[in-house]
Amino acid sequence: MVAVLAFKYMYWHFVYVPGEITKAWMNFVWFSLNFFSVEQLARTYFAPWRGVRWKQSRGFSIREFLNIHVSNMISRALGAFVRTWLIVFGLVSMIIVLLSGVIIFVGWLALPLLMLLAIYGAINVIF
């Protein structure tokens, strides 16, 4: 039974759990992008800020034309500026998640070795 259990442990530690860590890792990557709405903000990157836009009234006036277009451009620029911040936060958090994921993934695979090293180190340091 010990041999069977040891085999099962190896499968669990080196195959099953890494698979689960990868799934959870991907979920956190998705979360970091979703929480900061990166995809949606990228899609609406140049959309006017809070939908504020001006429309041309009837008749043509160069002054009004310029006025409206400049105002709309400012609204869009403002929207893009604010969105940039959130997108950057989202991307930074995603990079942090990716790096943490790598550490956890490698750390888990190396855990048996790390435990042995810790015990060895502890014995050396204490005694």
């Binding site: 979703n34 939908g51 810790a118 340091v125």
Partner: protein, 853 residues
């Protein structure tokens, strides 16, 4: 069960591992040692930074922290590995049936084997398994026994007594598994499979034992439980809680991560300043309630989302009775939208806002101002691009004359609303009732055409029970009282039986809340069925508790009780009593009313009196009788009066809706229009009918009695010719079929067709005696004795009998001859308190009697 061996199953490895060191303890140890490790490492850092000289102390702390990290990592890995083994997938190729057992069931089986060995039993039976489960004290058995108010120790003691009767193991024989043990495992596996699980959990095993272990089943029945219905239900309840907790603990799942929401989703959407001022954010409400999802109504949920995603006419008109869960459905949508868990991406992360119409109407000083504000609100919603607008009880705002305030607080926004409903970017949900739909929307087809209609059906009793179970924890915390499963069942049964004006689940939820509030005012720590009965009694004025307790005795003794009020008609009384007993004990599978009878016979023979007697005995009062003179329904147009319409209440449907627990008397049925009789086909068959505004009216808790004089001539002739009454029923039925008065399929739907025979002279004398005894009772209350002579009874019977009208005139004769005479004597002070009087049978004059009878 040759292929059943727990010790050869993979799960046995976990049990062995757990026997060495408990996996639960391991998990806790891992946490403790990790924190200790952190503390040591912190200590090492402090020493390292602050006291550089303390070289030795630093090294020890660093070493200890390293050791603790190694230890916590090992313990953590081991405990997680144990959990993995508990839930490892099962290969379908396994021959050993014990492979399908979960961790706790496998442990219970091993314990059962040990008990069987200790008791030297020939077989490991299902009874032993129940005892083992009781001993194991798994979370499932603890939860189930506490909700069911079961004393596990007492149960175990009784089961031990049963165990003593089981055969002992003979020498050189091998112990085997009994047949009921094998059946239990098979049933448990089936239950697990039905719920999409491959492993048998404790809940499955207990539910299976409730049906397969005869001793356990018997003990549950003795404690008033239905083993094959209620035990699986409580088991499912516990499993649902367990699965929910397990799911919530997995914080890394997408489903849980969604709960944190998303930032900046509305940055591309317009500002909604006026809309925000006059609306309630349902999305925030859903978040506050931790994203509640509605139980049941799957079809309606899918339909609603489908309509809202359409390119055009993406507006929903949610039609249903108040309390049917309309708002819950909208909250469900708000929850799903906030979690981004909708069927279509178009509905994800929407703001769902309910317009506060009362606030909006009261804020406006004039109709023009109201229209202007409303237009701004709708315009902002349309321009925002991420808003779904909801208006509750929309019918209150779309009727009457356009733009005027015909009634205080009532306005008509139909024109403005129609203009916006046309816009694809304006997404709208209107909530209304069936009455509102018929009365207002159907009168305005252009408005109605802008909507996709979603009709809410009433959820089932099982789904309602699930809603109650979900609501329970918050109410228990609020009122600091524990709710027994029996109380939940009572709520379900009594709200279904005695309250019909409100649909499920609301009536059950209201009753639960009211009962909790009631019990909180007492010192009782547990909500019991008696408390529910008390609340229902105060709400409906029906003596529920007493009736539920006495129903059994009443049914057993129905003949005697009816005969206290009704003379003769022995066969009729017997047939009604027997049919009612059959119906109430649910021997025959049926969905119709509790009982339905057709009383046939000449007038004045006690048909109506029998109905009154039944109402008084069975429903507690004669006032619980809904009486309809069917001669008033001779035309097809009268259907509206019977079933109701948007403009009028139905004489039958409204009465039954308001008093679902009552007797319905349909007098002179043969005079009703044949199409009206057809309506009763469904009532008698399925126990419900749809009223004129689309509501389902439940007749399952009514007794329906129809009286008919059709063919009474045959009875009179049979009496004259002294024919056999046994054959008369067939003859009468042939007669009514031949004449087309009733159709065979109509008659067949009654539980009994009962022929009332004319009264004999002796019966009439007895009826006179019964009537006179009522006069005696009234006089006795005034301290006056009344002696009823045989002559007086005979004379009343003689004068009161009419071959055409039976005993119907007897009441009038009694009034004219006896009651009038006594009244005159009382007013003329000829009678004094303490005296015994009698009425002369010849002159009908009052005189003082010699002695009381």
């Amino acid at each position: 069960m040759s292929s059943f061996n727990v010790k050869k199953a993979a799960i046995y490895q976990v049990i062995s591992l757990n026997a060495l060191i408990s996996l639960g303890v391991l998990a806790r140890l891992a946490t403790v040692s990790l924190w200790l490790g952190f503390a040591c490492f912190g200590g090492f850092l402090v020493l390292f930074v602050a006291v550089v000289s303390a070289q030795e102390g630093q090294e020890v702390l660093f070493g200890v922290s390293l050791l603790l990290f190694a230890y916590s990592a090992a313990v953590f890995a081991l405990s997680r590995f144990g959990e993995y083994l508990k839930r490892a997938r099962i290969s379908a190729a396994y021959e050993n049936e014990a492979e399908f057992l979960g961790f706790e069931p496998a442990r219970a089986v091993l314990r059962a084997e040990t008990i069987a060995k200790q008791e030297k039993l020939a077989m490991v039976s299902a009874t032993v398994l129940v005892i083992a489960i009781c001993k194991e004290q798994s979370s499932a058995i603890r939860f189930m026994s506490s909700r069911m108010l079961l004393d596990i120790k007492a149960l175990e003691k009784e089961l031990r007594a049963v165990l003593a009767q089981e055969p002992k193991l003979e020498e050189h024989r091998k112990r085997e598994y009994s047949e009921d043990f094998a059946k239990t495992c098979a049933t448990a596996r089936r239950l697990a499979k039905e719920q999409g699980r491959e492993r048998i959990e404790s809940e499955d095993l207990i539910a299976a034992l409730a049906t397969e272990c005869s001793a356990f089943k018997q003990l549950l029945i003795e404690r008033n439980f239905l083993p094959d219905q209620e035990i699986p239900d409580i088991a499912r309840w516990h499993l649902r809680i367990r699965q929910k907790n397990e799911e919530r603990s997995k914080f890394w799942l997408k489903k849980n991560l969604r709960r944190y929401g998303a930032l900046g989703t509305d940055w591309a959407s317009g500002y909604t300043i006026t809309l925000d001022l006059f609306s309630l954010p349902l999305t925030k409400e859903a978040a506050r309630l931790r994203f509640p999802l509605a139980v049941g109504h799957e079809k309606e949920k899918a339909e609603m989302q489908r309509i809202l995603c359409r390119q055009e006419n993406n507006n929903v008109l949610l039609v249903g009775e108040p309390g049917s869960g309309r708002k819950r459905l909208v909250l469900d949508l708000a929850s799903r939208s906030a979690l981004g868990d909708t069927k279509s991406e178009l509905l994800a992360y929407r703001r769902i806002l309910e317009i506060d119409m009362a606030h909006l109407v009261s804020s406006a000083q004039s109709t023009e101002e109201l229209e202007e504000t409303l237009s701004r609100v709708f315009s902002e919603a349309a321009n925002a691009g991420n808003v779904i607008v909801v208006i509750d009880e929309l019918h209150n705002y779309v009727g009457g004359e356009t733009g005027t305030r015909a009634e205080p607080g009532r306005v008509n926004i139909a024109t403005i609303l129609s203009a916006y409903l046309r816009l694809p970017q304006f997404v709208f949900v209107g909530i209304t009732t069936f009455a509102g739909l018929h009365r207002y929307f159907e009168q305005n087809p252009s408005l109605l055409s802008r909507f996709g209609k979603v009709e809410m059906s009433e959820i089932s009793e099982d789904e309602t029970l699930e809603v109650l179970e979900e609501t329970l924890p918050s109410l228990e915390v609020r009122y600091k009282r524990f709710v027994s499963y029996q109380a939940l069942q009572s709520i379900l049964r009594m709200s279904g039986k005695y309250i019909q004006a409100v649909p499920f689940p609301q009536k059950a939820l209201d009753l639960l809340d009211e009962a909790m509030s009631y019990v909180a005012q007492t010192r009782d720590p547990i909500l019991l069925p008696a408390h529910i009965a008390a609340v229902v009694e105060s709400r409906t004025q029906i003596p529920v508790g007493e009736m539920e307790d006495q129903e059994r005795e009443k049914l057993l003794d129905l003949e005697t009780l009816i005969h206290k009020r009704l003379i003769n008609q022995d066969i009729a009384v017997q047939e009604v009593s027997a049919a009612l007993r059959r119906a109430r004990t649910q021997i025959a599978s049926r969905q119709g009313p509790m009982g339905s009878f057709l009383f046939m016979g000449p007038t004045g023979v006690g048909k109506t009196e029998m109905a009154k007697a039944l109402a008084a005995i069975y429903f507690g009062s004669e006032s619980r009788m809904i009486r309809l003179d069917m001669s008033e329904f001779q035309n097809l147009e009268d259907i509206k009066r019977l079933l109701g319409s948007p403009s009028q209440e139905g004489l039958l449907t409204t009465a039954v809706r308001e008093n679902p627990f009552s007797l319905v008397l349909l007098d002179e049925l043969e005079k009703a229009h044949s199409n009206i009789l057809n309506l009763f086909l469904q009532v008698l068959d399925e126990g419900h009918v749809t009223d004129g505004i689309g509501r389902k009216i439940d007749f399952r808790y009514t007794i329906i009695i129809a009286t008919s004089n059709a063919g009474y001539e045959l009875i009179l002739r049979a009496l004259k010719e002294k024919k056999d009454f046994g054959a008369l029923k067939e003859e009468m039925l042939e007669y009514v079929f031949e004449r087309g008065i009733y159709r065979p399929e109509f008659i067949n739907r009654f539980d009994g067709v009962i022929i009332f025979t004319p009264l004999s002279e002796q019966h009439l004398i007895d009826i006179a005696g019964l009537m006179l005894s009522k006069v005696r009772k009234n006089l006795a209350e005034q301290g006056i004795g009344f002696v009823i002579t045989e002559e007086l009874k005979r004379e009343i019977a003689r004068l009161g009998y009419n071959p055409m009208f039976g005993a119907r005139d007897m009441r009038r004769v009694l009034q004219d001859k006896v009651e009038n005479a006594i009244a005159l004597a009382l007013l003329g002070k000829k009678i004094k308190r303490g005296q015994n009087i009698t009425v002369d049978a010849e002159t009908f004059e009052t005189r003082v009697a010699e002695e009381a009878s």
